[in-house]
């Protein structure tokens, strides 16, 4: 459909088709990382690749959660526009937000105090060093999982429109609530 501005405006089906492909790819990546973290967690090993690392406390649990998140993404791609399926995508993203959010939260808290031998508060160098790489995979997955917010907004605006349509139709009292 031609947009008055000259560009193309995507219709709803197209948007959900793009979402389906996007979350299928993201799901496969999340699932793969989840399996890798679980294997490393079980064998007690760690892995570092550039600025990403798979190690530390609760590695097995993080892997398990990412494994489930990946499964949720992949199981939601069939009939993606259905809200039951979208709910799975939302929860998969929420699971990534929990892991990444808690990591960022602990990084912030760890950057403030001055360490065992230091003063009450950290030095500027120490503070900045607390945020340096390597990072856990969920931190990298976080921005990619945020696309789900667009689909939530899309569905909610549709629900709102339906609600307004309903309200404009005359209804008598005494019906079903």
């Amino acid at each position: 459909m031609d947009h008055p501005g000259g560009g193309m405006k995507l219709n709803k089906e197209m948007k959900f088709e793009i979402g389906r492909v996007y979350f299928a790819i993201l799901g496969a990546v999340v699932l793969g990382i989840g399996i890798a973290e679980m294997l490393l967690g079980v064998t007690g090993r760690s892995f570092e690749w550039g600025i990403m690392e798979m190690s530390g406390e609760f590695l097995l649990w993080r892997g398990l959660i990412l494994f489930f998140a990946g499964t949720f993404y992949l199981s939601s791609i069939q009939n993606f526009s259905d809200i039951h399926q979208l709910a799975k995508t939302v929860m998969a993203s929420v699971m990534i937000w929990i892991i990444a959010g808690m990591k960022i939260f602990s990084m912030i808290l760890e950057s403030i105090p001055g360490g065992e031998e230091g003063g009450w508060f950290n030095t500027l160098e120490g503070f900045l060093a607390s945020y340096s790489a390597p990072y856990i995979p969920s931190i990298f997955l976080l921005p990619f999982s945020l696309l789900v917010l667009y689909y939530i907004k899309l569905v909610e605006s549709e629900e709102k429109m339906d609600g307004m349509k309903e309200e404009s139709q005359p209804t008598g009292s005494g019906g079903d609530t």
């Binding site: 609760f58 959660i65 892991i99």
Partner: protein, 411 residues
């Protein structure tokens, strides 16, 4: 003004016309999300993620205050200052209030103004605030009732139902309100079972906070071991105790955004009531244990119980002190264990024993109070039934952990 029945119905109709909106119910995204959090296939992975968030938040928040600031405050400033200004170094009053004059940290000093204050304010306060804050957010969003629905099937295997998860989780904060929360259960059998199981197997937030400090790498193992005990002994109690375990209908509210004012008000109320119970017992605990040590009673008791502690549980006889303190405060007892020289398996066993051992005095008093509802019979059921279960658990479950170490070749 008195209304007839017809007038009353007319009034109801008028109010309903003004306040009730009629329309077709539409299934929305929020409902779909609510549904998948209660279905086992999707709900259990989500519950695992929530619990992961809970532990991470607990560790980061409590660690920030305790390790970041309070350890420094107590060890580098408060303890040296007290050791310098408190009169009568070496005297019994000094020993009770400041503790060991050679100690260089508040954990090991073991005085009322050093260890007791550090445990209560330096370790327990941040842990309790972190725990209740997360719990209140889960409560106010509407997730807790969904968790109850999820675990319903599992808890039915031991004669309880999903709603028992509320006292179980509350117990991770403090056993005292958790025992009161057992009133929400349907039958006397369920109430007794739940109260006894949580008093024995579920460590409180204060104890958890100290466990994270004393055995940071083994808290997961201890928790799994205690959880396994909860279900094994729950299953046995369900078979042994007479009474019914009926089904219930649980009302699951919709998800909603927590209101900051409600969260802070609830948090303040819970932390305040916890401290009213905790602080006097922590201070009293240190006084009693120090007096027992000074009079030689603790040494005599340690020698008396040596065959049992060393022979059956495989822990040093010095653990008798923490076990006595555990009756007053379990967090205090775990802190005391860290000052005793022992191997890691022995330390883990001792922490498990302190957890299984007699509930703290506040919980014990609450158990008796709950029993009072059933008169003299109720009190004796809670007192003797609870004690019987406790003795069986401590010998069997406490002895089993030593067997595990022997099998693993580390004992």
């Amino acid at each position: 003004m008195k209304l007839t029945v017809d007038e009353r119905w007319d009034l109801i109709d008028k109010i309903a016309e003004q306040v009730v909106k009629y329309g077709e119910y539409r299934y929305r995204l929020k409902d779909a999300i609510a549904d998948i959090t209660v279905k086992p296939l999707t709900g259990i992975p989500i519950a695992i993620a929530v619990l992961y968030g809970f532990w991470s938040f607990f560790g980061a928040f409590a660690g920030f205050f305790t390790d970041g600031f309070l350890v420094k405050l107590f060890d580098n400033h408060w303890l040296p200052w007290l050791q310098e200004v408190f009169p009568g170094k070496g005297g019994w009053l000094y020993y009770i209030f400041v503790g060991d004059p050679a100690a260089d940290n508040c954990f090991e000093a073991f005085g009322v103004l050093t260890s007791a204050l550090f445990v209560a304010i330096g370790v327990v306060l941040p842990a309790i605030v972190a725990f209740y804050l997360f719990l209140i957010i889960l409560e106010d969003t509407g997730y807790l009732p969904r968790l109850a629905v999820l675990v319903d099937t599992v808890l039915h295997k031991i004669g309880l139902h999903g709603f028992a998860v509320i006292p179980m989780i509350l117990s991770l904060g403090c056993n005292v309100p958790a025992v009161i929360a057992t009133r929400a259960l349907e039958t006397g059998k369920q109430r007794f079972m739940m109260a006894v199981l949580l008093a024995i197997f579920i460590p409180c937030g204060a104890q958890l906070g100290i466990m994270f400090k004393v055995i940071p790498g083994h808290v997961g193992f201890v928790m799994l071991y205690l959880l396994a005990g909860f279900f094994v002994f729950g299953f046995i109690l369900d078979r042994l105790l007479p009474g019914k375990s009926p089904e219930i209908l649980l009302d699951v509210p919709p998800y909603q955004r927590p209101i900051a004012k409600n969260v802070t008000r609830k948090l303040w109320m819970r932390v305040k009531s916890f401290f009213k119970v905790a602080i006097p017992f922590v201070l009293l605990g240190v006084i009693i244990v120090n007096l027992m040590y000074l009079t030689g009673f603790l040494g005599w008791l340690a020698n008396l119980l040596e065959p049992l502690l060393c022979g059956w549980f495989g822990v040093p006889k010095e653990t008798v002190g923490p076990l006595v303190a555990a009756f007053l405060r379990k967090d205090l007892a775990v802190a005391q264990l860290s000052a005793i020289e022992m191997t890691m398996p022995q330390l883990v066993t001792s922490v498990v024993l302190v957890s299984l051992y007699f509930p703290c005095v506040a919980t014990f008093a609450m158990l008796i109070r709950e029993g009072r509802e059933g008169g003299l019979k109720g009190v004796s059921q809670y007192l003797f039934g609870g004690l019987g279960a406790l003795i069986a658990v401590i010998f069997l479950w406490g002895g089993l952990i030593r067997l595990i170490w022997i099998i693993l070749g580390v004992a």
